[in-house]
């Protein structure tokens, strides 16, 4: 996969499968971005799918095996650093950000877009997606709050 914009896909996004599916399809031609995650993100995702969303373990294992087989380029490693000790809650995210220098970070709550020396944060409302997203009919993501950092 040779997308030009690396984007960290966090577990809170991957575990919400309709959103995960939409984003991963957008990462295909014409490759709007290049999805990235780590072993820890996948572990958190699979743990969440089983324990909180009650996916059968066979389905979780199938999802992980397919991701490993066909989206292996998404895995990142080598980010382990003292950063992880500084802030346990978001240490991994910070480490990935520094490692990959992504211009976007897609989390459940916000999408961060870096342009030049500025960053724009789009807050996503915390509510479930009720309609199945279609690749050719993407749901509108209202920006309830946009601010420059």
């Amino acid at each position: 996969m040779t997308g030009t914009v690396p984007v960290i896909i966090d577990a809170c996004v991957l575990a919400n499968f309709s959103l995960c599916d939409t984003l991963l399809r957008l990462a295909e031609e014409p490759r709007l971005f290049e999805p990235k995650w780590s072993d820890e993100i996948i572990q958190e995702t699979t743990r969440t799918l089983e324990s909180k969303l009650h996916w059968p373990s066979t389905l979780v294992a199938y999802l992980e095996s397919e991701l490993r087989a066909h989206l292996s380029d998404a895995w990142v490693s080598g980010y382990e650093s003292p950063l992880c000790a500084q802030n346990k809650l978001h240490a991994q995210t910070k480490a990935y950000t520094i490692l990959l220098n992504p211009r976007f970070f897609a989390g459940r709550d916000e999408i961060v877009w870096e342009h030049g020396h500025n960053k724009t944060v789009v807050r996503i409302p915390r509510r479930p997606i009720n309609n199945r997203p279609q690749v050719n009919n993407l749901p509108h993501v209202p920006a309830t709050q946009v601010r420059d950092l």
Binding site: T2, F17, E28
Partner: protein
């Protein structure tokens, strides 16, 4: 022994090919073009396999009735 093909490139692409050849990593333009075409075809195949995998995953999750099941904020 390969089959000869007459390939015309834009000035920009031709310039970039010549830059690559100047790096010394390729024996000649034939070798470079062959590698580029092979990479393109393999990359396209990988993309098709990824899309097939996404379709299979989506179908499996849908059949399990879990496609639209999402985490409530209180579950996170």
């Amino acid at each position: 022994m390969g089959i000869g093909m007459d390939i015309r490139l834009s000035e920009d692409l031709r310039s970039r090919v010549e830059q690559e050849l100047a790096s010394g990593r390729y024996r000649d333009s034939d070798e470079f073009i062959e590698e580029a075409v092979r990479y393109f075809l393999e990359d396209r195949q990988r993309g098709q396999r990824r899309r097939d995998a996404l379709r299979r995953i989506g179908r499996a999750v849908d059949e399990a009735g879990l496609y639209e099941k999402v985490l409530a904020p209180s579950q996170e």
